[in-house]
Symmetry: D2
Subunit: 346 residues, 4 copies
C-alpha cells in the first residue's frame, strides 16, 4: 500500500478525496490536515465517513507530512499551494495539486489573474492533469496540476473539433452551469441554502472568471493558435455537477456522423469519457458521484453551428476523482483503480 | 366587476391564473373548466386555493361559457385553442389565448412547426401580447395571443439592441434555462421529481423547440430583417423561473453606459421591466411569483460580445401574469391591477 | 397612511416584512434599519424589492427612529429587543416584537432558557400575538410579542382539543419540520446550501429547543393545567414552511366528526386558519407565501391517538405575516389588510 | 462468478441493484427484465449505466430466466412476486424478493393489508432479510423477503430497547420521513417534480400504511409480545433517504450511557449499523448512497421519553443494498462485498 495524505481535508474536495481513498485498494490514507479542525476525527467533521476512517485532522509541518506519506493531494487555496508544493517535491514526494497555481504555463498570465507567483520554476515541470490529453506527461511527472472543473468540461467537449480544425476558433461560446459544491465550504452569504435553493443565476459575467485563461490555454494548444472565448458560469441549485453548453461555428461541411466518428475515435480507449448515443444529451444526474465526462452534440443546420454539451460531477471528474486518476497514473497502477463506481441515479 | 373564466384550469397556468384572479379587484372569476376534474371544487384540485374560491370545475359548452363570463383566459393546448377561441369571439367575448395558436403571423410557419391551422383568419387580428412592444394593439384587441415563456425573456432582453441596430443579427445565441412548471402538469416520466431533482440537462437541442419561430418572428420585426438564432432550452430543478443568457456580437463601439441608457429609456415607463443595477445580474429567485422581467447585461471586451441576461417567473410574466396584464389593457383598467405583488425571496 | 419602520431589515423576516408592507394600503414603510448594510438601498440587499421600495438601510438612534415612524416591527435578536422596545414604548409608539423577549410571562422561565431579562416590567403588558387566541388583548396593546414559528403551528393545531379537554395532556408529542429560512440569514456552516440540500435531520433533540417553554406556556393556558410535551424540530431542505405532526392520546370516545365540528367552530371566523377537508392533510406547499395555518387531523383507531397536522409558512404566519396581522389589529384596521394573497403553488 | 438476474429492472430499485451489481466482484449480472423496455439497452433506460453494462432489457419466461441465472432479485410489485418467486425456487434458484409478499408470517394479516395470497406455503420458509436480526436464517435460506424501507429504519432503531425490555411497548410512535424514490418510478401526479419540490407533507396518516403490520410483526418478535404502534410516513423533497424519529416511554431508570452500551454491544460487529457519537444525530445526507443505517438517541428527561433517530438510504439499506447483503449471505461470500462504498456527502 502506498501512503497518501490529503492536505486541506476540510472542504468538499477534501471529503470527496477521503471518500474515494478510503476504498482505494492501493492507497492507504495516512494523514489528513486541517487547521480549523485539528484534533477532531475526520469522521466528526464529515459524519458520512464514520466507520470508514479513524484519521484525526492534524496541523502538520512539512517534515511531519513527509514522514507520514509519499503521495500528496494538495487541496489548499491557490497561493498557499505554491509555497507548500515545492517543499514536498524537494523531499522527493509526488504531488497532485488541486489549486490553480501550476496550471497556467505563462507566469505573466497567472500573475494577471491571480497574484505574484513565488515558485515559477515549478510551473514548467508540472503536467496538466487532464489524462485524456496529457497521459504520458502525467505518468512521468512528480507534480501534476489538477485541472479546474469548468476547464475539464469545456476542453474535453471541444478537443476533437479543435484537433481536427472543424470550427471557427473565434466563435466559441461556453455557457456553463455548476453545482454549488464548486463554491466551496467556506461560509458565505451567497452559498446559504436559502440564497441558492429554487433559484438560478449567472456570475462572473463578461469574461472575468479565473478559469478563463486555463480554458483558453488548453483550447489554444489543441488548435495550435490563440483562442479567445466567451465563458459565462452559472450557479445551479444542485450539489454536484457541471453542464457546459458550448457553441461554435462550423467551418467545414462535415456531417454529424463523421464528427461522431472523430469523437469516438479520440475517446475510444478513455475509461472516463462517454460519448452519449446520437439524439441524446448528457445530464448532470447521469454522472453524479462518478469520474465520467459525458459528451453529446448536434449540428444546428439552421445556423451551421455545432452545439456540444458535456457533463461531469464537478467534485469527482472536476476535482477529487481526476486527482486520484492522475495519482494512479503517476504511480503506474491501473488508472481506473478506486474510480470504477457507476454514477448514482437518482 | 367584470366576469372572467379560465378555460383549462387544471394545469399550472390555470392555478396561477386562479391565484391572481381571486385577488383581482376588477375581475370576478365566475367559471373554471376542466374535463378531468369536472365536479370537483377547484380548491380540492389545488388546495392552496382553499378559502379563496368556491368554484367547482366544470365541463362547459361554448354557450354555457358565454353565458357565464365576458372575458376568457384560454389555457388549453394548441389545436384545441384554435377551435375554441373563434367561437368565443363570435359571441362578442374578449379572449387571451395562452396557447401558440395565434402567435405566429405566418400560417405556413405555424403549420411547419405545429399542424394544420383551422382558423387562420383570426391570426391577423390577434395582437401579440407583449405589452412592452404591442400595448396599443392589445388595448384595441378582442383576441390576444399571449407570448411563450422563452420568447418573453429573450425578446425583452434583446429589444433595445435590435431597435438601435447595435448587434450582428446573425450572431445571436440564446441559452435559456427554465423551471419545471414550464413542462406542465400532465404526468410524464421526464418530469417526475426523482428525474429532475438535483440534476440539470438541455433538451430540444439544435434548433428544434417550437418557441423558436416565435422568437425569430419578433426579433426580426424589431430589427426589420430576417433573424435566425441558436436557441437551447434547459431544464432547471426549480419550479418557477426562466433565465436566458443571450450572446451577440456588437457591431458598434457604443459604450456599456450608452447601451444602459437605451435600455432605461425603452423600459422607463414599463411597470414590469426592471433594469438591474450595473455590475449586477438577474436571478430567477428575485422575480419569483411576480410579473417582473429583470434585465442585466455587460460587454465582454475580450470578444466584443454583449451578454444580456433576463429573468422572469415563467408562469407569471411568462404566462398567467402577462395574460392578466393583457386583459387589463383590453378592458381599459389600470394595467398593473392584480399584479403589484413584490417577488418572493427567499 | 400610518408610518411604519422595520428595525433589523436585513434578515429573512425583514425582507418578508418589507415585501408585505410595500403593498400594504394603510401602512407606509418609512424606515428600515440595518447596521451591516447602512447606506445601501434595501433593494440592493434584497433585489426582489427593486422598484418596490426606495428605502436606504440606515443605522438610526431611538430618537431618529421615533421621528420617522409611529409603528415598529422589531426584527432584532432576543436581548437586543428587550433593550430597544421599552424605549420605543416610552415615546408612545406601538411595537410588534418578533423576538422571544416578551413572549414568556414567567421571567424565571425566560431567564432559564435565555439570559437575564433587563425589562421584565414590560412582559406583563405585552400581548401574546396569536390573534386566534388573544385578539382582544392585541387590539388594546401597545406591545405585542409575536409568537415563534413552531409555537404558532403547534398551538393552533392543539387548541380545540385542549379547550375541550379531549386529550391526555401528558401524552403530547410534537414532531415538527421547518424550512431553512427559520435558521436565519446569518452565515453559518450548517445552513450552507450543500449541507442542507437533498438531506434531512433533526436538531435540538430531547427537549432543548427554546420554543419549548413558549409552546408549553400556551398549551398550559389552554388546558388550565401544567403541560410538558416532547418536541423535536427537524430541518427541511425547503425555504419556507413548517409542518408539525402532533400526537396525543384521546381521553374521550368522541367521534372524528364531532372533533371536526369543534375545530370548525373554533376557527369558523378566523381569516387565516383553514381546516382542510376530511381525509386530506396540510402540506407546506399549499400555504407557501401566505398567512394561512392549515390544519387536518385523524384518529388512529388502533392506538386511540389523535394525529393533528398543521402547516404554515414560517416566515409569514410564523413571523412577518402574523406581525402585520397583529399591527393591523393594534391599529384598528381590517385585520386581513395586506395579507389576502393566496398561497403560491407550485 | 455467480450469475444473477434482476427481475423488474426499470424502477429505482432496479437501477440501484444494477449500479451495485455491475461493480460486484463475485456476481455477474446476466439478465435484466422489463416488459416496458424490452429490447432497449438498460443503459438507455438509465444513462448513468452507460459503459457499465451492455445488458438489453428483456421480457423473459421463467424457463428463460432460469437458464440465464442462478440468483434472482425480484423487484416486481407485490402479487406479481408471489406468482413468480415459487417457480424460481422450484427450479432450484435462490431468490431475494423485494416485494411485501413473503414478509408477513401471518397469512391472514397479509390478506387484510394486501390481497389473497396464492402461495402461502412459501411464507414459512422465507427468511426475513434483516441480517442484523436474522443472519443465520438468511444464510440457510433459498428465499429471503427483503424488508420494507420504513421497517428497516424503525426496527433497527428500536431493537436494543425492545430486547432489553426498556420501554413501554404501548407508547411507541414512529414519525418517519422518506425521500421520493420510495414512491417508485411509475408516473403519477403526486410524484411530479412541481408537486414535491420545495414542499413537505404527511401521507397515509392514522395507521394505514402497509408497512405497519411488518413493523409491528418484528417489534413484537423482539419484545416477545404484541405491539401496536402509531406510524406516520411523510414525503421529503429529496431523492434518497429515510429518517425515522421514534418516541417511547422509558420504563426503567437506566442511564443514557448504559443504553448506549446496549446499542454498541448489539451492533458492535454489524458492518452496516453505525451508532453515531453522543450528542449527535443521524442525517440522511450522511448515509446517502451507502448501505449504512445510522442510529442516535437521547433521553428527554422532562418527559422520561427516549427519542431514537435512525437514517438510511431507502433504496440502498432500505432496498437494493440490503438485498445484495442478503444474497451475499445466502451465497456464503463476505457479506460486505460490493457494499463497501462510503456515503456521498454532499
Amino acid at each position: 500500500m502506498l501512503r497518501v495524505a490529503i492536505i486541506g481535508a476540510s472542504g468538499y474536495t477534501g471529503v470527496e478525496l477521503a471518500r474515494i481513498l478510503c476504498n482505494h485498494p492501493e492507497f492507504e490514507l495516512t494523514a489528513a490536515t486541517s487547521r480549523q479542525y485539528a484534533g477532531k476525527p475526520l469522521s466528526e467533521v464529515f459524519p458520512n465517513l464514520l466507520g470508514k476512517t479513524d484519521l484525526i485532522c492534524e496541523n502538520l509541518s512539512i517534515d511531519e507530512l513527509c514522514s507520514r506519506a509519499d503521495l500528496f493531494f494538495a487541496a489548499v487555496p491557490h497561493k498557499t499551494a505554491m509555497d507548500l508544493v515545492p517543499q514536498l517535491l524537494e523531499q522527493g514526494k509526488k504531488v497532485v495539486d488541486l489549486s490553480a497555481d501550476f496550471r497556467l504555463r505563462n507566469v505573466a498570465t497567472y500573475e494577471t489573474w491571480y497574484q505574484e507567483h513565488s515558485s515559477p520554476e515549478f510551473i514548467t515541470e508540472a503536467a496538466y492533469g487532464l489524462p485524456e490529453l496529457y497521459r504520458e506527461q502525467i505518468q512521468k511527472a512528480r507534480l501534476v496540476a489538477n485541472p479546474g472543473c469548468y476547464p475539464t468540461s469545456i476542453i474535453l467537449g471541444l478537443a476533437p473539433l479543435l484537433q481536427n480544425g472543424l470550427i471557427d476558433t473565434s466563435s466559441i461560446i461556453a455557457d456553463s452551469k455548476s453545482g454549488t459544491t464548486g463554491a466551496g465550504r467556506a461560509v458565505s452569504l451567497g452559498t446559504l441554502f436559502c440564497e441558492v435553493h429554487d433559484g438560478f443565476k449567472a456570475y462572473k459575467v463578461g469574461g472575468t472568471h479565473r478559469h478563463l485563461p486555463e480554458i483558453e490555454q488548453e483550447l489554444s494548444a489543441l488548435s495550435k493558435g490563440d483562442i479567445t472565448i466567451s465563458f459565462t458560469p452559472h450557479l445551479l441549485p444542485i450539489a454536484r455537477g457541471i453542464l457546459s453548453t458550448v457553441y461554435a461555428d462550423l467551418t467545414s461541411d462535415i456531417s454529424e456522423n463523421d464528427i461522431r466518428k472523430l469523437y469516438r475515435t479520440m475517446y475510444e480507449n478513455e475509461p472516463f469519457v462517454r460519448i452519449v448515443p446520437e439524439g441524446t444529451f448528457p445530464a448532470t444526474q447521469h454522472v453524479r458521484g462518478s469520474n465520467f465526462c459525458d459528451i453529446g452534440f448536434t449540428i444546428d443546420e439552421r445556423t451551421n453551428r455545432i452545439i456540444v454539451i458535456s457533463a461531469i460531477d464537478n467534485i469527482v471528474k472536476g476535482a477529487a476523482g481526476q486527482a486520484v486518476h492522475n495519482m494512479n497514473l503517476m504511480c503506474g497502477i491501473d488508472e481506473t483503480t478506486g474510480l470504477q463506481g457507476a454514477p448514482f441515479f437518482p
